[in-house]
């Protein structure tokens, strides 16, 4: 209509959009290479990760063992590569479980509202009171060590983060006019949720899950470090730190420091990629 003078928008619009940050690109590369390493580990590992060569125990880097040998005489590089599998598989399970269940619960709570919503928000509050690690420790003390129990426990602990996010997203989405338009046209609630709402909220939820992946990796590695996660002989980064800790105290830090670095780099990479993704989605929505 008329051009008359709306409220001033300020100068914020003028801010120059920064291009792709180098940090983000590096992290994207890291995620890709770690995943690739985990997939190809059996073929690219130079040694059997459990082959013991006691004569070479705690040896430094050499042509045969580029990352050295641990205290039990096993090749560190091979264990790191195969360890990527267990170290990524656990968090993957946590994230898959928490995402699927969280989205289902969050959507149901937002769509149905009422008693279901308040019951779920109470339950959420309860789960929030148990930090992920504590819940996992509880479950492990009951069911014994292994990978499955802590993965389920952490999945449960991470679930509220996803369900709460989903709930708020679905509530916002539900208020938009297109949803009522579909309802008027006689589409069922399930149909609208699956075909329209879920695809719309998926990017935000998946970005959150990417960040959760990093945290799950941290927690699971911590449990393995305590000797409560994966079984003793399995190559796993957390377990390797546990195995190498005695060597650290005797001045041979390499076999413990390398898995430490792998854990940190992987977690940081997943965090940065997830946060960047969440930022982009948020900007798109604005």
């Amino acid at each position: 209509m008329s051009t008359v003078l709306t409220r001033r928008p300020g100068l914020a619009k003028l801010r120059v959009r920064s291009g792709r940050s180098p940090l983000h690109l590096v992290c994207l590369g890291l995620v890709a290479s770690v995943v690739l390493a985990a997939l190809l580990a059996p073929w690219i590992a130079p040694h059997d990760p459990n082959a013991v060569d006691l004569g070479a125990a705690l040896a430094g880097p050499s042509a045969e063992h580029p990352f050295g040998v641990d205290a039990a005489g096993r090749d560190t590089l091979s264990r790191l590569l195969l360890g990527a599998r267990t170290s990524l598989l656990g968090p993957l399970g946590v994230v898959a479980f928490s995402t699927l269940a969280g989205v289902a619960i969050g959507t149901a709570a937002a769509w149905r509202g009422g008693w279901l919503d308040s019951l779920l928000s109470r339950a959420t509050e309860l789960v929030f009171a148990f930090p992920g690690m504590l819940l996992a420790v509880l479950v492990i003390s009951v069911y014994g060590e292994g990978l499955l129990a802590p993965v389920v426990a952490l999945g449960l602990a991470y679930l509220p983060y996803v369900s709460r996010l989903t709930r708020s997203l679905v509530l916002a989405e539900r208020a938009r006019p297109y949803v009522s338009a579909y309802r008027v046209q006689g589409h069922s609630a399930l149909q609208i949720c699956l075909r329209h709402i879920l695809p719309n909220i998926a990017p935000v939820v998946l970005a959150q899950s990417t960040i959760n992946f990093g945290y799950a990796l941290m927690d699971l590695a911590g449990l393995s470090f305590l000797g409560l996660g994966v079984p003793p002989l399995t190559p796993d980064w957390g377990r390797m730190v546990f195995d190498g800790q005695t060597a650290v105290q005797h001045g041979y830090p390499l076999s413990a420091i390398l898995p430490c670095l792998f854990v940190v780099l992987t977690v940081v990479a997943f965090n940065v990629v997830g946060e960047r993704w969440a930022d982009r989605v948020a900007r798109r929505d604005r």
């Binding site: 109470r122 492990i140 069911y143 927690d219 957390g238 800790q245 413990a256 420091i257 430490c260």
Partner: protein
């Protein structure tokens, strides 16, 4: 709504959640495969009489509800049962180890609050290269699990450089502080990163507020603008992380105390988990959950004092 009524209601809600939490903790142990008696006898083939004696001693024959209520009643009275591993009262075990853990957590908390707030503040106020540097540092910190920090600090400062002891809790206050310095830093690192990021974004949000421009336009010195209008306004957001910080500190002691062989609550939890010492695990879990809720309660009560826009009990709505 007046303050006392709000506090009472909030405390009652907390008690209810805690009750459910205790049920979860107790129920989990009840569901454990195999009878507790066989754990108690640690796999020895026991005579029926011995089994009966153990069952009677630990009231294992009673129905679930009776056992839960008895356990709950004991917990409320401060009787946490008897440790299966140590064959002593759990409360005794806790009392022996609590001072060390409390000192460790206090030290870590001081580090987290001072360094985290400082980093967040200079990152938000200075911007530019300082901001980028702090962002990279906090990104690394947030990605470093405390056990990794523990092992790295141990390898560098204790083994290689020899500045600090590599383990143990030490005796006497100063010696303890010296022993616990590395563990406290390991414990704090992740939370420093988190708090710095929260502080930074809260301050940036406050800095972008029109009231800051207005304060500057009225000739108020920049330091005072930052203190009275930016830092003050981000305090509420920072405060809401209090519960998370304390519970993370508590839980991560399990990793750090194990890494540094410090005989505290965390190490006790790790040991009793490995040995299936249920009463000890139950007690420690419940204490952690209760502390988390207590801190959150305090935060809820403090928040309206920090931010007058938040009327009591509407924290979610106004956040």
């Amino acid at each position: 709504m007046n303050f006392v009524r709000f506090a009472v209601r909030r405390a009652a809600e907390m008690a209810a959640t805690l009750l459910v939490a205790s049920f979860v903790v107790f129920g989990a142990m009840y569901l454990a495969p195999g009878s507790p008696a066989s754990f108690l006898l640690s796999g020895r083939s026991a005579s029926p009489e011995a089994l009966a004696a153990v069952n009677a001693q630990y009231h294992l024959d009673d129905p679930f509800a009776v056992r839960y209520l008895r356990w709950l009643g004991d917990m409320v009275q401060g009787d946490f049962g008897r440790s299966l591993t140590y064959r002593t009262d759990v409360s005794r075990l806790l009392a022996d180890r609590l001072p060390t853990t409390l000192l460790l957590i206090t030290m870590a908390l001081i580090v987290v609050v001072t360094v985290g707030l400082l980093l967040g503040r200079i990152s938000a106020v200075r911007g530019g290269a300082t901001d980028s540097a702090v962002l990279v540092a906090t990104t690394l910190a947030v990605g470093t699990p405390s056990f990794v920090a523990a092992v790295l600090l141990q390898g560098l400062f204790a083994v290689k450089l020899g500045w600090f002891p590599s383990g143990g809790a030490g005796g006497g206050f100063l010696d303890q502080v010296w022993h616990l310095t590395l563990p406290a830093i390991a414990l704090a690192l992740y939370l420093i990163g988190m708090l710095a990021r929260v502080t930074r974004s809260a301050m940036l949000e406050a800095l972008a507020g029109e009231h800051v421009t207005v304060a500057r336009s009225r000739g108020i010195p920049e330091r005072q603008v930052i203190r009275r209008h930016v830092l003050r306004n981000s305090l509420g957001t920072v405060l809401t992380t209090g519960g998370l910080i304390v519970s993370t500190l508590l839980v991560c002691t399990i990793l750090v105390e194990t890494a540094f062989s410090i005989g505290g609550i965390g190490q006790l939890l790790e040991l009793s988990t490995t040995t299936k010492d249920f009463p000890t695990v139950q007690a420690i879990s419940l204490i952690i959950v209760a502390l988390f809720m207590a801190v959150n309660l305090i935060v809820d009560l403090l928040l309206p004092l920090v931010d007058p826009r938040i009327t009591l009990g509407t924290r979610g709505a106004n956040a």
